[in-house]
Symmetry: C2
Subunit: 122 residues, 2 copies
């Protein structure tokens, strides 16, 4: 991957600086694993963007996949450690939005108490 600089923030944004990657991680934090699960989320991701983001997340080692069906082959997606460790970023963003953007749903209190180690790997 092209590195824009050696700044850790820039390196992080190279991997997750878009409108969808963290939404998919959020879905996986909530237990979603399959294409259809991700497509059904309120934000309405398209199949093209979903396929492209999952591919990048696999390449970057944020997630893994495992076939659960042949003919046609279908995959389930699981969090790798690097993907789980982005939970504090997702929590910090959610907390910011609750305080600075009107009309946001408040997540259950348990969400902010979660730590990466609480997340299921598979």
């Amino acid at each position: 991957m092209h590195k824009r600089s050696i700044c850790p923030l820039a390196n992080c944004l190279d991997q997750i600086g878009d409108k969808w990657t963290l939404i998919l991680l959020r879905d996986m934090y909530l237990g979603k694993q399959r294409y259809g699960d991700f497509l059904s989320s309120d934000e309405g991701i398209t199949t093209n963007i979903l396929a492209s983001r999952l591919k990048e997340m696999l390449e970057n080692g944020l997630i893994e996949k495992r076939a659960y069906q042949d003919k046609p082959v279908r995959y389930e997606y699981f969090l790798c450690d690097a993907g789980k460790q982005l939970l504090p970023v997702v929590q910090a963003m959610s907390q910011w939005a609750e305080q600075h953007i009107s009309g946001c749903r408040q997540p259950p209190a348990a969400f902010y108490a979660l730590s990466p180690d609480d997340l299921a790997t598979k």
Copy 2:
């Protein structure tokens, strides 16, 4: 602005889910205020993207601008409270990248000890 859902994460990403907005906030956390300052950062932002991002950040209330010169008019940019309060997101991303992406520069220890209230507004 179009809201994709009432999820606070999605609302946050609607404003900062791209490769550049948080880079510009980082620059402002470090004291940069002017077009030329932002253009000189290592990541090599283009003038088109810089103009577009600053416009969105102004519209979203993350920053303010003040003319410091007439003919031609030129502006300095300052952090609003909402922009300052994104510091924990930037810190969490930097910390994650230090642990999960090789070849990142380590920020000075003082960076992780900063709180939003320590940041200059203008």
